[in-house]
């Protein structure tokens, strides 16, 4: 009895320690994020903190303990990216539009320029042991400046120059400071702006102050930017500042554009035309891959399931190799080793044996054939493995009964084995379809979507929707078109979800049939 109590106490103590540690870290993180301005992260931290504590101490939420880590990662890796993607697709995020409007305006306000005749000042700092109080700037004139940027009349101070070298050793009560001391105050000196002329004097190197002038002023009331150098006025248009004669300032900013990106996909021929072609090919690619590799996998599984076959383990191990090998390596071997033009293994063999060569990755038909061939090779071992499992689960008495009823092996397969296998495997096949639908790696490592179909086309002949979306992201006139690409991803997401929902409905019908057997 006592021992149980002891153990409970110990468990409680451990729990308290762990939770306190977690809380300490979480509170630190929240405060840290709040200070550095990441309000979203800070709020997320507070939510986590409350959730973990309430789950840990509330008896009712016991099962949540086991779900929480899963939920956390689901939110972080799936839910947030989906929402972010949707959000991005409603903006104009692309090259030239990557920062907020206020950031952009601040960049313009901080732009300064150096006149060709700009004054340069050497300087000397005066102060007590730790702080700089006064600066003496020297060019053709001498300026005495305090650390607030105010210029003082030297007459106010008692100036002492012991060695008569023209540089004072002491101004008022403050002594000249050494260079090393000045460097330790460099961040203060860097921030100092001394109003002067149309601009300011500021530290330009560690040894000099130079005279800079503002380049732009911003008028909040009219939302316009004026270039002081040229006198031109810039108005905001399409998330950029543009002058009346068409001069555009960099950078622009991101803004909400509503459904514009979706409309662009529909209205621009350059994007719309390939979309449907790519969509059809993506369906073909996924269907052929899943069906053919499933057929091969099931056939091999039935062979391997036959206890009369010798060396079954050896065959099984060998057949799993394509699946077990990292596809990054095998895909590159297929591309450069087997398919590659005149240098590939296939064409060298064909040339030696039959004197022909096949444009494996160069024409539309053969490139599609080749990517399918390779992907089927990569997928069939998985299909074989799951089929083996499904075959094991078929009750032997069913097959025996069929045999007694006089069924041949084809009938046995057709009427007993196949229906039972398909009921078990249908969800896996749908999953496999969805994976293949979005299998970026295989397409990218084998062909990068090539061959080219026409000059300037975004999509190549083997591009599937996801690789098309990826290419779109970088296909902008000036680089990235992230927002447009996000819109395409949202469309793909909708397509995959629809297909999956319909297919799962269908399999539920199959399951009902199976239950009736």
């Amino acid at each position: 009895m006592e021992k149980v109590m002891e153990r409970r106490l110990l468990r409680f103590l451990v729990k308290i320690t762990l939770i306190s540690l977690f809380n300490a870290l979480a509170i630190f993180a929240c405060v840290f994020f709040a200070i550095s301005g990441d309000l979203y992260l800070s709020t997320a931290g507070v939510v986590m903190l409350v959730a973990v504590n309430s789950i840990a101490f509330k008896k009712k939420s016991y099962p949540l303990k086991y779900l929480l880590p899963g939920l956390f990662f689901l939110t972080a890796m799936v839910v947030i990216p989906i929402f972010y993607n949707v959000y991005l697709s409603l903006t104009n995020y692309s090259t030239g539009h990557v920062i907020g409007k206020n950031d952009a305006i601040n960049l313009f306000l901080n732009r300064e320029y150096l006149r060709p005749d700009a004054k340069k000042y050497s300087f000397k700092a005066y102060g007590n042991d730790s702080d700089i109080v006064l600066l003496l700037l020297k060019s053709d004139e001498e300026l005495l400046v305090d650390m607030n940027g105010e210029i003082h009349d030297p007459v106010e101070f008692d100036i002492v120059d012991c060695d008569l070298d023209g540089t004072p050793d002491k101004i008022g009560q403050w002594k000249a400071m050494e260079a090393s001391k000045i460097v330790s105050k460099i961040s203060l000196l860097q921030k100092l702006r001394i109003p002067y002329g149309n601009g300011w004097l500021r530290l330009s190197t560690l040894r000099e102050f130079r005279q800079y002038e503002h380049q732009y002023v911003y008028d909040e009331a009219t939302d316009t930017l004026t270039d002081l150098k040229t006198g031109k006025t810039y108005r905001p248009e399409k998330a950029r500042f543009i002058s009346s004669d068409g001069d555009v300032l960099d950078p622009g900013w991101t803004e909400y554009v509503g459904l514009q990106n979706y409309l662009r996909i529909i209205n621009t021929e350059k994007y719309r035309k390939p979309f449907f072609g790519v969509f059809i090919w993506t369906i073909e690619w996924s269907l052929f891959t899943v069906l053919i590799s499933f057929a091969i996998g099931l056939f091999l599984a039935i062979m391997l399931n036959d206890s009369k076959l010798r060396f079954r383990k050896l065959y099984r191990s060998l057949l799993i190799v394509p699946y077990a090998m990292p596809s990054f390596i095998s895909l590159l071997v297929w591309r450069y080793g087997f398919y590659s033009g005149e240098f590939g293994f296939f064409n060298r063999m064909l040339k030696n044996l039959a004197g022909i060569s096949i444009p494996w990755l160069d024409t539309v038909f053969w490139a599609r054939f080749s990517v399918l061939l390779t992907n089927i090779w990569l997928t069939f071992p998985y299909m074989m493995l799951v089929s083996l499992g499904a075959l094991q689960a078929i009750p032997p008495h069913l097959l025996e009964a069929a045999k007694i009823d006089g069924a041949g092996s084809w009938q046995k397969f057709r009427k007993v084995t196949f229906p039972l296998v398909i009921v078990t495997l249908a969800p896996l096949l749908i999953g496999s379809f969805a994976t293949t639908f979005n299998n970026f790696t295989v397409i990218w490592l084998l062909t990068e979507g090539r061959p080219v179909t026409g000059i300037g086309d975004v999509a190549g002949a083997t591009d599937i929707l996801i690789s098309y979306a990826y290419k779109l992201a970088f296909s902008g006139r000036e680089g990235s078109e992230m927002a447009l690409s996000a819109a395409v991803s949202v469309v793909i997401f909708a397509i995959v979800v629809t297909i999956s929902i319909i297919s799962f409905r269908r399999t539920r019908v199959l399951e009902d049939v199976a239950n009736e057997i």
Binding site: T95, G96, V98, I99, D103, A104, L107, N110, Y113, L114, S180, V183, S184, I186, S187, L189, Q190, K191, R202, L203, S204, T205, L206, R207, D250, P251, Y336, S340, G341, E342, F343, P359, D362, R450, P451, V452, G454, I455, G456, D457, F474, S475, G476, R477, E478, G479
Partner: protein
């Protein structure tokens, strides 16, 4: 040679293991902390550089800290990571003060507001090779301070080609002599269809991408993909393929493979391919690319240098670092020593002229033109590569393909 060869000294392995574990733990914690640490800090400098440049800039940083007491930290990242991450990290205050990069990033980075223009004193500016300054400028302003320039030349396998050709006709003769597709041996190859390395051939007879004003700024509405020179150049390449002297598709991987296996006589490529060739035991020489009809081929010139984060609070330290530490003969010579490419700094370049390999590259690119740094190059590369693909696989004639490509570009840029 090395007294501390692993496995020879007892206990070394164990220590190595321990050290590795500590390193892994450190690396993981760095990963978590990195976003915090790399943030631009007032009064300190942070530089992002790739693996070859990191040791160089660490050395410059060490000296600068000794000289001034200001701490400079160099973080190693890949080139791609630098170019991508600096765009998002800088506005968030998590970027570096300086990045080491290539001049063709500039257009995109300026469009995004990521980098700031740089004012250099006139006398310092004059010490740089003018081509490199032009390459680092965008819309009339300087956005990077160069240190080296690079471009392609003719690499030749001395065992197959004892004497490099002077003219295109000589090159063809040599190519005919040693090409033997049956054993996979080619006299002359260049990466195809991606047109970066083959550009000298396309440009020799006057091919260009964008027209230029006399001050070097680009005329975006004068697209030269279908200029006579470009079409003639592409015809030369097309002819080599039709004659069976060159395969119709030579991806980078195949090109380096043939080079390092000693199965390529001559290759148009850059200094980056020399270590690859030497790793295969190939005895390579470097020569300027042969003249075509007496005209000098004009390779693209790529310029490396440093660029300034527009959001950095350390503009004064950056300016000081550039003027008093980076753009000096001593530093530029140090950079050359560790990364031997023709220096962009004339006083340093003059002093390094005794290196034959570097000299050959320098001569080759002295006729070159800077790779345009406008962000529109993104579209140009893809459209141009499409056209070259259809030329090389014999689908379209050079004339048709390049005309179509130019048309597509005109349409894209006009709206």
């Amino acid at each position: 040679m090395n007294p501390l060869k692993p496995g020879i000294i007892p206990g070394y392995r164990k220590e190595e293991n321990m050290r590795r574990k500590v390193l892994i733990v450190l690396a993981v914690s760095m990963l978590f902390l990195s976003s915090v640490i790399t943030a631009t800090v007032d009064g300190k400098l942070i530089i992002w550089a790739d693996d070859t440049r990191t040791p160089i800039f660490k050395e410059l940083a060490r000296e600068y800290t000794e000289m001034t007491g200001i701490i400079v930290t160099v973080y190693e990242m890949t080139m791609d990571a630098i170019a991508e991450q600096v765009v998002t990290a800088s506005p968030a205050g998590e970027g570096p003060d300086l990045i080491v990069g290539a001049h063709d990033w500039i257009g995109r980075l300026v469009r995004n507001g990521t980098i700031a223009s740089i004012d250099l004193p006139e006398d310092l500016l004059l010490q740089f090779d003018p081509v490199t300054i032009a390459a680092m400028s965008f819309e009339g302003k300087l956005y990077g301070v160069p240190y080296s320039r690079e471009g392609v030349a003719l690499l030749y396998n001395k065992d197959l080609v004892p004497e490099p050709p002077q003219t295109w006709d000589e090159l063809i003769d040599i190519t005919r002599e040693i090409t033997n597709p049956a054993i996979g041996q080619y006299g002359f190859i260049v990466e195809l269809p991606f047109p970066y390395n083959s550009f000298p051939v396309l440009s020799a007879l006057g091919g260009y991408i964008f027209g230029q004003r006399s001050d070097g700024t680009l005329l975006m509405d004068d697209i030269g993909l279908d200029s006579v020179g470009m079409i003639l150049g592409a015809t030369l390449i097309d002819w080599l393929i039709e004659e069976g002297l060159m395969p119709g598709e030579i991806p980078w991987e195949t090109m380096t493979g043939l080079l390092s296996e000693g199965k390529a006589g001559m290759v148009i490529t850059g200094p980056w391919s020399i270590p690859i060739a030497e790793s295969g035991g190939v005895n390579v020489g470097v020569a300027p690319i042969p003249t075509i009809c007496g005209q000098r081929p004009r390779p693209f010139v790529g310029v490396s240098g440093i660029m300034v984060n527009a959001y950095s609070p350390n503009k004064a330290i950056i300016q000081d670092f550039i003027e008093n530490q980076y753009a000096t003969k001593e530093s530029m010579l140090k950079i050359f020593e560790m990364d031997p490419r023709p220096s962009a700094f004339i006083p340093a370049f003059e002093e390094t002229r005794d290196d034959p390999v570097m000299n050959a590259f320098a001569e080759s690119i002295s006729f070159g033109m800077p790779l345009p740094n406008v962000p529109e190059m993104n579209t140009v590369w893809s459209v141009w590569t499409d056209a070259m693909t259809l030329i090389c696989n014999q689908t379209l004639s050079p004339h048709e393909a390049l005309r179509q490509a130019a048309k597509v570009l005109e349409d894209t840029f006009s709206n």
